[in-house]
Amino acid sequence: MLEIILSIIIVLSAILALIQKDLLKAAILTGFSAAALAALFQVLLAPDVALTQAIVGAAIVPVFIALAVKKTQRSDG
């Protein structure tokens, strides 16, 4: 059951990230998707991968995107 909920969160937040007009929200939703993915890795008996994914996907990548958004423009237009 847990994996189904996590899967729905991953796919839903991925789609939501791509239809946002605000790029900062898209960055946060990407991190959300990656965090759910990390939890899913833990369910799949891969704690080491989950740890890496949580750090890289849910923390570093959204920060990179947010930095890029800050240096460019925030709205998609």
């Binding site: 991953i10 990656a34 704690p47 890029a68």
Partner: protein, 128 residues
């Protein structure tokens, strides 16, 4: 218990399809890059699923475990090792792409792919 794997394979397929869709149809370059990074995540999820064993244990040999029982019940660690490398590669690729976008934004002042990454061969003006 095969259901878990089916759900997860569908998730990874959905992520790959989302990525391929965004590669063609999304115009904003940052969102396009985010979308393409979902392909990588979907593939990672797929490879992790290969190592999964229903009702198994984490592949770390704790003191007090019987090695024979552990070998029969632990998840396969090889795919996990591959995915670790792949996650880091994906993050570094994304960082390089975003850096290039930041540089290019200073020249074009837009994030539209149609403007920023259009055909450049005709743009080199023929100056007499």
């Amino acid at each position: 218990m095969i259901m878990v794997q089916i759900v997860i394979l569908m998730t990874s397929a959905a992520l790959i399809v989302i990525g391929l869709y965004s590669a063609i149809f999304i115009d904003n370059i940052i969102k396009k890059i985010i979308g393409i990074s979902f392909i990588e995540e979907g593939v990672n999820l797929f490879i992790v699923t290969l190592g999964y064993k229903a009702g198994g244990v984490v592949p770390i040999l704790m003191p007090g475990m019987d090695p024979a029982w552990f070998a029969a019940n632990a998840a396969a660690p090889l795919p996990f090792g591959l995915v670790l490398t792949s996650i880091v590669i994906g993050a570094s690729t994304l960082a390089v792409m975003l850096a290039l976008v930041m540089v290019l934004y200073r020249r074009y002042h837009t994030l539209s792919t149609k403007v920023m990454l259009a055909d450049t061969s005709k743009r080199e003006e023929y100056d007499e």
